[in-house]
């Protein structure tokens, strides 16, 4: 295989394998310690894996939301100016493919409740990302779920209860399976 073929990206693996001078391992980098992995691996899986200890309530969440979120997302989560966070699912709502103006938010569009915890902890409040404690994030998550009519006012949200929240939109999600070729253009 000529050298230039290696440059074409997809063929790189083939070139690497043929080149006997290429070692199995280069030995670059250093081992990641368990401590640094634990500190950095903040992603939450949809089954709840990765959720930290702690818990939160709708009542506490209401206070934190009013203080730290309402200015951008509105007093009840629908007023803006930024993303609308509250839109309970309703039986008589038109399907999204027929309703371009229908608001998409946690209650009617998000397929997993764990995403709320994951996203708010990493990215919100927008002006002070990463500033909330785990318990605060649990409480805000509880408030958002309650405002979207997904849990009761007295529910406690923690690593066990959060992944168990049933999200109405989940049943609508399909994975893209298009492969190009001839239409139709779905």
């Amino acid at each position: 295989m000529p050298f230039w073929a290696c440059v074409a990206g997809t063929l790189m693996i083939a070139c690497e394998r043929r080149n006997t001078a290429m070692p199995e391992h280069f030995g670059y980098g250093r081992p990641a310690t368990e401590k640094e992995i634990a500190a950095k691996a903040i992603a939450i899986h949809p089954d709840g894996k990765g959720l930290p200890a702690g818990s939160g309530t709708v009542q506490d969440g209401a206070l934190i939301y009013a203080a730290k979120c309402a200015a951008c997302h509105g007093a009840t989560g629908v007023e803006g100016p930024y993303n609308i966070l509250v839109a309970p699912d309703t039986i008589d709502a038109p399907p999204f493919d027929q309703a371009p103006k229908r608001v998409k938010a946690i209650g009617n569009y998000w397929p997993y409740a764990t995403t709320i915890f994951d996203y708010v902890r990493r990215a919100m409040p927008f002006n002070a990302p990463g500033s909330l404690s785990d318990n605060e994030v649990y409480s805000i998550t509880a408030w958002l779920l309650h405002a979207n009519k997904l849990i009761d006012a007295n529910a406690v949200i923690n690593a066990k209860t959060l992944p168990a929240v049933v999200m109405p939109a989940r049943k609508y999600y399909v994975t893209d399976n298009r492969k190009g070729g001839e239409g139709p253009y779905e």
């Binding site: 290696c6 440059v7 074409a8 990206g9 997809t10 790189m12 693996i13 690497e16 290429m22 199995e24 391992h25 280069f26 670059y28 980098g29 250093r30 081992p31 990641a32 640094e36 992995i37 950095k40 691996a41 903040i42 992603a43 939450i44 899986h45 949809p46 399907p95 999204f96 493919d97 027929q98 309703a99 371009p100 998409k104 946690i106 569009y109 998000w110 397929p111 997993y112 764990t114 995403t115 994951d118 996203y119 990493r122 990215a123 990302p129 990463g130 609508y172 999600y173 399909v174 994975t175 893209d176 298009r178 492969k179 190009g180 070729g181 001839e182 239409g183 139709p184 253009y185 779905e186």
Partner: protein, 405 residues
């Protein structure tokens, strides 16, 4: 403005603008600080001497068009397949982070044999690869209801660079991927700590960790000091400022693959993980705000597909009734912007011109009505319709707004 500049202007009789710039150094030598905008006669005056950085001609003003969340490439001002780095589109979720390359680290962990932390220097020691490909945001579609919109307004969220870095497969072998791992999380170190879940198969296929763009270090807006590059896939998945890759046995269902970057499709369904960018093309000349004159016109533009090479670009100059093949500029690369040209004689009548891309899977770029018929009016991302430009009798070229229904 300095006194010297003012004096210089006076010397040139006022013909030169503020960009004039031969100034005397303390040694009495003329040194460059810019390029004269309008010397009276360039053959009668020594120009600026070599300098440390090149500049654009003061006559050229290509500019991105920024909003709060993105900035678009001025496609109508470009002549080739490569986007100058400072005109590459931007889309980020919490601004551009400032990252010190000396403390930068990429951690790969999860379902791997050897969880490893790589410094930037480590990444650069691995065998490197360069490839030219486009990056396009899957939200690269506007539906303007007016005529005065440019190619930049309609689809300026696509750009192309030569990217250099290490194949992700090289890093995968280095850390040893558990065969049961099917997805990986890519996480950025911006203030949104942006994350996407990517199938491991893409990592083996053609994914890269890149640290260079068009021959120099990646620009901060494009992910300095290193980003993920997933050729042909929606731009958001090529996570910039990448700091962490976690191998897993399923997707993480992050906000950017649920609340955003999903699209409603038929029967109330919501389509997820629509990674690949479908074939698309756009005529960049003549397009608004060009002004045409009767006679020969070279129609020019860009075509691309996330599923492979552009096989053909067809042009219609009669509002889509008949189509003819355009010439493709070599090299035609995999998952890359391809420049096309088509010579046409404009007789001065009103005309609607348009282009459509056909890729190597046989996919033909659809018109908007076909997309809406297949997906519904509530769809959003991954819209790639044929774009028509209307040429009026006076030679004015405008966008031709389409009904959204």
């Amino acid at each position: 403005m300095s006194q010297k500049m003012t004096r210089r202007r006076l010397l040139l009789g006022g013909a030169a603008t503020a960009a004039v710039v031969l100034v005397k150094s303390s040694f009495g030598k003329m040194v460059q600080t810019g390029i004269p905008e309008a010397a009276i006669d360039p053959t009668k005056q020594v120009g600026p001497l070599p300098g440390v950085l090149g500049t654009r001609s003061p006559f050229e003003h290509p500019q991105r068009k920024p909003s709060l969340t993105s900035s678009q490439t001025p496609l109508q001002d470009l002549y080739g397949m490569i986007t100058p780095s400072d005109l590459h589109f931007e889309r980020h979720h919490a601004g551009v982070p400032a990252i010190d390359p000396n403390s930068y680290e990429l951690m790969i962990h999860g379902m791997v044999d050897r969880p490893t932390v790589f410094s930037l220097a480590d990444l650069k020691r691995f065998p490197s690869v360069s490839r030219i490909c486009f990056i396009e945001c899957s939200g690269n579609f506007r539906k303007p209801d007016k005529e005065n919109v440019t190619p930049q307004d309609i689809c300026g969220l696509t750009s192309q660079s030569e990217w250099t870095g290490v194949m992700l497969s090289t890093l995968f072998r280095e850390v040893g991927i558990n065969p049961k791992a099917t997805w990986f999380l890519a996480e950025g170190s911006d203030a949104a700590v942006m994350t996407r879940s990517i199938p491991v198969s893409k990592g083996w296929e053609d994914a890269m960790i890149v640290y260079a763009q068009n021959g120099e270090a990646i620009r901060p807006q494009q992910g300095y000091p290193a980003r993920l590059l997933l050729p042909g896939w929606e731009g958001n998945t090529s996570v910039k400022w990448i700091r962490r890759i976690e191998l897993s046995d399923g997707p993480f269902m992050t906000r950017e693959e649920t609340s955003k970057y999903t699209e409603p499709v038929k029967d109330g369904k919501i389509r997820q993980f629509s990674f690949t960018m479908d074939a698309r093309s756009i005529i960049t000349y003549p397009a608004y705000p060009a002004q045409l004159q009767k006679g020969w016109v070279e129609i020019r533009g860009l075509a691309w597909s996330g599923r492979g090479k552009v096989q053909k670009v067809e042009i219609s100059t009669d509002a889509g009734k008949t189509w003819n093949a355009a010439r493709l500029q070599e090299p035609v690369l995999d998952k890359a912007h391809t420049y096309f040209r088509y010579l046409w004689q404009w007789n001065g009548d009103t005309a609607a011109i348009m282009s459509r891309a056909i890729d190597e899977t046989g996919y033909v770029q659809p018109v908007l009505q076909e997309l809406i018929a297949a997906r519904g009016i509530g769809t959003g991302y991954h819209l790639n319709p044929v774009t028509a430009w209307l040429i009026k009798r006076d030679g004015q070229v405008v966008y031709s707004p389409e009904k959204w229904k």
